[in-house]
Symmetry: C2
Subunit: 542 residues, 2 copies
């Protein structure tokens, strides 16, 4: 069996991928293709399909695509499904792939999936770089700007993070990061520990496992200070309460890595492979999301396929204590309640919100919601009847579900559905602010451009939609992800340039949080996605 | 690729193995054999070689045997090594395998290793049986015997456990167990929790992963009360301090399983696959040994290849807390200190004794000892100069190493070598008793029959060998493993009928613990191995 390179190296995205090899599957009988085509198609599968179906094609959010199932469907049917999608939730790809590419993907999934290589701690260490030595870190901001109102913005298809001055709306830097960064997190205020200069350092995690450290006190052009790589495929990252450690989670290899937050030197790698809630072994048990507990010296690691929430005590890495909290599959993304004690996360294939009590490191409750909950950054606010509540959008239905989340003072309402708000389309992100009367929800998953380009706003008091805002009307564009500014007076919404994803033709539209009127359009951004306001994120204004 | 059955099913040892299948490696080019020969040789490899070299042949106690390395050596050289062994520690197999079998094994290890199947919790549940319903358990012993002086004895090659009345020396039962039982453990006294009827229930773990529950209050012939299977290959088992849970560890799949101690119903399975101390991913990360902490509500799980000691809190299985204590490879077997706080375990490839503090769930110390330490049940006693000490035999050298193990009252001596005693041959087991003046060590690993058939006894006071006892002089027999009786007046030594392993021609020789003179020979046993005195084990008389 000949060795072929795995995935990303072909387009030069991953650091150090050239050294990794895997065995080409045996091609005797059955559907086949040339080695070159296989390698190219493997890369396309990895970039566009593996997220939902898994590298090993066992299925997760998407269906199982192992040859035993695919061979039954056959080439023609598979091509049709890839081209036009299905009722079951599969997207159409006829606007993303050519006919020839779709044909090859249909063949590829009828062949044995290649198993990608492992990654050792030594490999990660070899990929760790300091662009600015620690001794040269500034002791105060080197620019006169109000850095606590900076927005750190993912420019997804550019492999960059934009830094935007929230006061002046100027884009002051575009920083090179990993490919298709999923999340960026900064240091946050913590009940027990205290990170120095909270909100100053930010950490990006690329889809390719690349981790970058950003120093907001540096001058534009100098903000990227360190880099490493901790996986070939990754999704989330977090910083410890004391600011000492960064943790990032891999899709492949299925593990999490704890790094020194100063240098990004990888210190500890822990496998997440294991058994799901039914007691079946899962080799591709991917880390979907990672958070820092605001009150405990602990990370929260959500393992998608095993339905395990891992509460990882970071006070002693040599004697690492982890509580594996059994919940439901497939865990995706979540947010803390306002007290910082309870973590609320979507188990989207189970149509549940899972609540973990980080004080006692145990499952608090599971709340039944609708099809495929997905809160993104989430939203907490006060409801007149139910008291403190949390809410989520759903990938599978145009609906915001709202539940009580204050078991101490509102035990009767706690972890029960309080009410639901129907929206025009299924969405990905929900957001509010303590000073705002409104809750915002996007509708990114709706197939109609008109809906996909609009976000909806409902009133916390009346629980009714007060405005549908068409954020863009341009063809091939979509609206998504809301973030408030430092003082809660503005809401920033991203506009993806879907059809022109390689160029800086995306934008962020700024709305007045009170009047809901457009204030400003910030242009020159490539597929702007998640946006993180320094002050709000550092102070848990969720 | 055709499916072939894995391993043990061929000789009917494993329960439910028939359902498992694996892919036959591709045979194009290179050394090869028929499918039937491959299956038979695979089984032989599994029984005799996998213990040291691993199912995936990555190596552990033995060398890496992957095809890339084996093909270089070639057929003739490999046959020689298998036949006559090596200086490096490989045993000779010319007395165990025929020339034809050796030739096939040499070919087999040049071919790709087949990956054995996984085992789910549901599969284990389907293999769980009650021979005696709980409601029919007796409320007092059904025989008039002093069951606290019973010896539970492994009859290795018969797949049985013998129950011997320590007062009368009668063999009162031979109980069917898994194949080549490695360890049998009973309920023990615990500082916090309290098992009912301590010492009554005993649990066996077969090499084939079969778990059996023995009730010593039943009449002979009725003592086997429940059964399950938790792996295809396993080594150790333990019972929780409260007597509620049984835990067993797998070599393959690499996991541990927590069962209901009443019914043996499997409740929880946890993978041990993960990263070693160098940060390299290990798929075959085998559970070498499992113990119950006498003072904490915790199991101690030693993972051989990763060098991780897992302290598993069993108070909440749904929110399972595990501390992974980083130590050294390859962890093997160990014993608690007299206070029950410190666990002392051999990391035999690192030539270290690892000490874990179960109170704080952290590494206490690593002690450098000689080649391949192996304490078996271990020995603790009081030394006049060093105070409380522990000792180990070594697989690689005829030497007993003795270290201080009382950090509270003898901090200067704690976890430092106190002295060493040279013996005639490398051994596997060491043993003593608080009432005895002597420490006993066997010499099972020495190639000369004369030494292998003798155990050596040294004086705790003079630190010198006072007697070499030739336990047997019969050809093809060896002496191993010592156990004291309830009041510490007798020492029982096993005699393996190596060359006639299928017949009950082995014996146990009973010595007076004071005069060191032979008192009795208990005959009719098949390869008697580990022996467990109910009272001593239940009361931590180590």
């Amino acid at each position: 069996m000949k060795k072929l390179k795995f995935g990303l190296s072909a387009i030069g995205l991953a650091v150090g991928m050239a050294a990794t090899g895997l065995s080409l599957p045996a091609f005797a009988g059955g559907p086949t293709m040339s080695e070159k085509d296989f390698e190219e198609t493997n890369l396309k599968y990895f970039q566009r399909c593996a997220g939902c179906h898994g590298v090993l094609r066992k299925g997760a959010t998407g269906k199982n695509l192992e040859p035993k199932n695919m061979l039954k469907k056959g080439q023609a049917r598979l091509e049709k499904i890839i081209s036009y999608g299905t009722e079951g939730g599969m997207n159409n790809f006829d606007d993303i792939f050519s006919k020839d590419e779709i044909s090859k993907l249909a063949t590829y999934i009828q062949m044995e999936p290649p198993v990608p290589p492992e990654m050792s701690l030594d490999q990660m260490k070899a990929l760790t770089k300091q662009f600015v030595p620690l001794k040269d870190y500034p002791t105060k901001p080197l620019h006169g700007r109000n850095w606590e109102n900076f927005f750190v913005v993912i420019e997804r298809d550019a492999g960059k993070a934009a830094i935007i001055d929230g006061d002046t709306k100027e884009v002051i830097d575009h920083i090179d990061t990993g490919y298709a960064v999923h999340v960026i997190k900064g240091t946050e205020h913590h009940k027990k520990d205290h990170a120095k200069d909270v909100g100053r350092f930010w950490y990006t995690i690329g889809r390719d496992g690349k981790v970058n450290k950003i120093d907001l006190w540096q001058k534009p052009g100098k903000m990227l200070v360190a880099e490493t790589q901790m996986a070939y495929d990754a999704r989330d990252i977090a910083v410890s309460g004391d600011g000492k450690y960064v943790i990032a989670g891999g899709y492949w290899p299925a593990h999490f890595v704890i790094m020194d937050a100063e240098t990004l030197e990888p210190l500890k790698v822990v496998s997440t492979r294991g058994y799901n809630t039914k007691g079946e072994y899962i080799n591709e048990a991917r880390v979907a999301a990672i958070y820092t507990a605001p009150n405990e010296s602990a990370f929260i690691v959500a393992v998608k396929e095993t339905g395990k929430m891992l509460q990882v005590d970071y006070t002693d890495l040599d004697n690492l204590t982890i509580t594996a909290i059994e919940s439901a599959e497939f865990l995706h993304d979540g947010f803390f309640d306002p007290t910082g004690r309870y973590f609320q996360i979507a188990a989207n294939a189970s149509n549940k919100m899972v609540v973990v009590d980080t004080k006692d490191a145990k499952l608090e409750k599971m709340i039944d919601v609708d099809k495929l909950p997905h809160p993104g950054p989430g939203a907490n606010w006060i409801d007149e009847k139910c008291g403190p509540v949390g809410g989520t959008t759903h990938l599978g239905v145009g609906l915001v579900s709202v539940w009580g989340n204050d078991p101490i003072n509102h035990p009767d309402q706690a972890w029960k559905l309080c009410y639901e708000v129907e929206t025009d389309g299924a969405g990905v992100f929900i957001r509010t602010h303590e000073k705002s009367d409104y809750v915002w929800a996007d509708q990114l998953k709706h197939p109609e451009p008109e809906v996909q380009q609009s976000v909806q706003v409902f009133d916390k008091k009346t629980r009714e939609i007060v405005k549908t805002i068409r954020v863009t009307e341009e063809e091939g564009k979509a609206a998504l992800h809301m973030e408030f500014n430092q003082d809660g007076t503005e809401v920033w919404v991203s506009v993806w340039n879907r059809a022109d994803a390689k160029n800086p033709t995306g934008e962020i539209v700024v709305y007045d949080a009170k009047t809901l009127k457009e204030k400003k359009r910030i242009k020159g951004l490539t597929t702007p996605t998640g946006k993180f306001n320094v002050f709000n994120r550092a102070n848990h204004k969720t």
